[in-house]
Amino acid sequence: MTQSTDSLIAQLVDGLEPVRPMRASEGFAVAFAALGLSLAAVVLIADVRPDVISALQQPVFLLSAGLFLLLGLASSAAVVAMARPQVGSEHSGWIWAAAMAALLPVAAVIVALADTSAVLARSAAISGSDCLLAASGLGLLTFAALTWWLRRGAPTSPDRAGLVTGIAAGSFGIFAYSFNCTYSDIVHIGLWHSAAVATCAMIGRLVVPHLIRW
């Protein structure tokens, strides 16, 4: 820059237009809308699993869906906060939610090692990859919504914001797809559903920073 700071200030003052401050509530609304659309897409396009009522009484289904929903909410809240810079902000709540959700793959591995035959047979690779792909596709809605929010804002840690955006997208995506997936065993959910979150997190970490740098 070669112009003087005073003339830059004069230009900026001339170009001032009233702005509406970003509200965290708008960010949450955007994230919830994406979650709602993901659920609607499952109902309208993929169909809800026929035994959904009995699934709602199965502990593994309830716990896993609940954990992914919480992880999605915690990550979304972190992303909403990350759009507004502030020294002293930590945005670390999502880490605890991620740690809790990480218990699912750990439990899956333990159970799979203890009972390799029957359980792994049910967790067939093809149906698992279906979950991974469908959840990632559904996660695109959250991915787009939160990326739009971050682009409006001023995230000072684009890499972390990208990672957490991906985690939120994957978590909401797999939470919504849980209502279609007919598997309720810990190995399938712990491995494939967690893999969907991990995949989205990786994509978010790689792609989002390029879209939100300012």
Binding site: L8, L16, P85, D159
Partner: protein
């Protein structure tokens, strides 16, 4: 007028509403604050650029300030972001003189200490901070910094790379 938190917050609220006079005063005060803020950590040759880049970023991201939160930590986060970004870009400079008059208003010492660049820098491992300080702030070559610290040239480069990456991750931490 003195650039205190309350006045700046009030001016910022008015600026968000489109008050140009208040905005002009705010930017002038921010300019002063930024010059003091960057003073110790930025070579004089790039101080103007960095102050201007930060003011421009402030202008573009005006809507991201929340009136319920303090103004200076918001401005500091933007300033740190621009500073780290500049650290990435600058490897050499010609001048190494540092300005002498770099003080914060007394009543804001606690806040200033919390949001200062020093507090960010002090979180780096010593070797990384030293490598960045010598090469990116004082303008030494990698070879000169290696000789001075006893680290190999490649280690100096690695420490700079890791240090800047770490700074990026810590921008909002006090």
């Amino acid at each position: 007028m003195k650039a205190d938190e309350v006045s700046l917050s009030r001016l910022m609220t008015m600026a968000q509403g489109g008050d140009r006079q208040a905005y002009g005063t705010l930017l002038t005060e921010c300019q002063r604050w930024l010059r003091s803020y960057f003073g110790r950590r930025v070579p004089p040759a790039v101080l103007d650029d960095l102050v201007q880049e930060t003011l421009l970023a402030l202008h573009q991201k005006l809507a991201t300030w929340d009136a319920t939160r303090p103004f200076l930590p918001w401005l500091a986060a933007i300033a740190r972001y621009r500073w780290v970004d500049q650290l990435r870009r600058i490897y050499r400079r010609q001048e190494s003189e540092l300005p002498e008059t770099l003080t914060s208003p007394d009543e804001e010492e606690a806040v200033a200490a919390r949001i200062s660049l020093e507090s960010l820098f002090s979180r780096l491992p010593r070797r990384q901070a030293r490598a960045i300080e010598l090469v990116k702030i004082e303008g030494l070559s990698v070879a000169e910094a290696a000789e001075l610290t006893g680290q190999s040239e490649s280690l100096i480069k690695v420490n700079i790379h890791r240090g800047v990456r770490k700074l990026t991750a810590m921008i909002e931490k006090a």
